[in-house]
Symmetry: C2
Subunit: 331 residues, 2 copies
Amino acid sequence: MSITTKEIARICNVSRGTVDRALNGRSGINSETRKRVLEIVRKYNYQPHLIASTLSRGKSMSIGVVLFDLKNYYFAQLSNIISLSARNEGYFTYIAVTEKNMDAERHILSNLASRRVDGLILLPIIQGSEYVKYLKSLEIPLITVGNHLPGIPGISINDVKAAYDSTAYIAGAGYKRIVFICPPLRKKGAAGGRMNIKTQDLRSRGFIRYMKQHPDLRYDIFTRKDYTDSALDLVQHGNIKTAFLCSSDVYALELIKCFRLKGIHVPQDAGIMGFDNLDILTYINPHLTTVSTSLEIVGKESVNMLIRLMSGGSIPQNTYAPHSICSGETL
Amino acid sequence: MSITTKEIARICNVSRGTVDRALNGRSGINSETRKRVLEIVRKYNYQPHLIASTLSRGKSMSIGVVLFDLKNYYFAQLSNIISLSARNEGYFTYIAVTEKNMDAERHILSNLASRRVDGLILLPIIQGSEYVKYLKSLEIPLITVGNHLPGIPGISINDVKAAYDSTAYIAGAGYKRIVFICPPLRKKGAAGGRMNIKTQDLRSRGFIRYMKQHPDLRYDIFTRKDYTDSALDLVQHGNIKTAFLCSSDVYALELIKCFRLKGIHVPQDAGIMGFDNLDILTYINPHLTTVSTSLEIVGKESVNMLIRLMSGGSIPQNTYAPHSICSGETL
DNA sequence: CTGAAAGCGCTAACAC
DNA sequence: GTGTTAGCGCTTTCAG
């Protein structure tokens, strides 16, 4: 392929050690020699063989980002931010997608580990202690983003508080009945058991906490995948104006779409609030009220955390990024 | 990290050669020995060291996908499909994003090359013969998707024909004035010169071809980034009902949004047609008429092409994937 | 300051 | 069938 240090050494009449010293800015080399070597390096367009270097140094200067879905804007944006931050720190980022397939998630993690990435950022879809054990067995610095895994450091917003705040916001808008929507994620593959729905859990906990504190309000939780039907039913036959707090913007969008088809007006006939503030929302009408999860901060901070971990530091189990409510026209 | 073949060999009282034969299903090994070795391999949870293997074999069993944007649904979907197809063929896929930054594009390509990916799928943002020369100098099998690069095999829809067909479709809907919208992509970084807007070019060529053949129709092309202003102006002050053919759905969405803000109704006051059939369209109201670019086919076929190339075969310069018009409510 | 040599872990060619 | 050996290209240690 391209020229090697061995060749460079031969051409310059020096040893490979010296070439290495020149290339990697190491000390213990005459500046004349260095100049001469670097000239040849440039002349022959030498390209470092990162595979050989990785093998030899035991460091690949790369990290892996493993997501369960790229079609979700949120994750796409996140990986963009992560790649950039990592590049600034000298790390190359490999993005890999599991498609919510548990077998794929393990396969990809193993593969990345075998390719000796120096660290991993994982948006996990699997849960359970066996899985955590597996992750630890990879012996690679690893943090999670979003869904949390016990015993593994992670960053996310404070989902309980965010959901609590959102619920309060809805109540503040005068709704007397609020429904929380968190349908199951579609899972594929069997390895490792149940899906990780930590985020959903925490959000629903925050919702419930608020509602328990306000017994004058009525509430429900829709956890089935035919939530649009249930919601429709409620709006069409219920006698209290209802707001729907969705555990993700995507569900909110589905609801808006479904309501429109049935001639239900938002927010006149029902309120809707989402979660995540996907950037496609800018094109959606009516403009969705949602919770922004400060992607930028989560992305940058996740890289910082990982780097601290990779350089032997320790980091807290849970890091919270701020959230904020983006008011739209759907409440 | 994990156990090596050397260790396995020691434990089994065989040579590393034999361990390798067992692991890689090579011939020339007693089935008893193989069984024994594989047992130990499993027992100690041996994980192949893909970096070492790559160095030794000169093959990494991985491909790189280099995109200029992941936030665009189209590319996110595409990379999903590519990863999956590649995995089916035994290749691991690294996804990397350039953020429309030309410097980053080169940096990433070099990096991937240094990491010895076996092949590259590129959605290029750079153009020019110098760039093509650079790409060829990587000496890695490479194909483009979407934007084409002279001398490098690529796959895309037939953009000229697709635009021609779309224009015909709009004319068929009775519009007497049609505007083609293709604003400049925002570029970052300077390396390598001008942006690659081949796709835009071809689409605009198809548009013009149709319009030239139908001199009774009036046409314009908006190439500036303030296209929404121009469009607005035309709709508010023009006297012929106009349709806008956008070179990407994103521009169509911007237009819809802008029109809504100004109280212009689509399609009553103006028609809009997009390009790409992004899957977020399902949430957009009114439903956009657009051109579907058979992502599934493009994704799968790009992997097929690359694999053919990697195994020494040759492939045509241009491969066309079918396109079709998805009629919505915006014309 | 520079060179020589060993080694990262796996693979492949060649002996036995 | 199995073992031995010599790399892949870069890094690092230890002499000199």
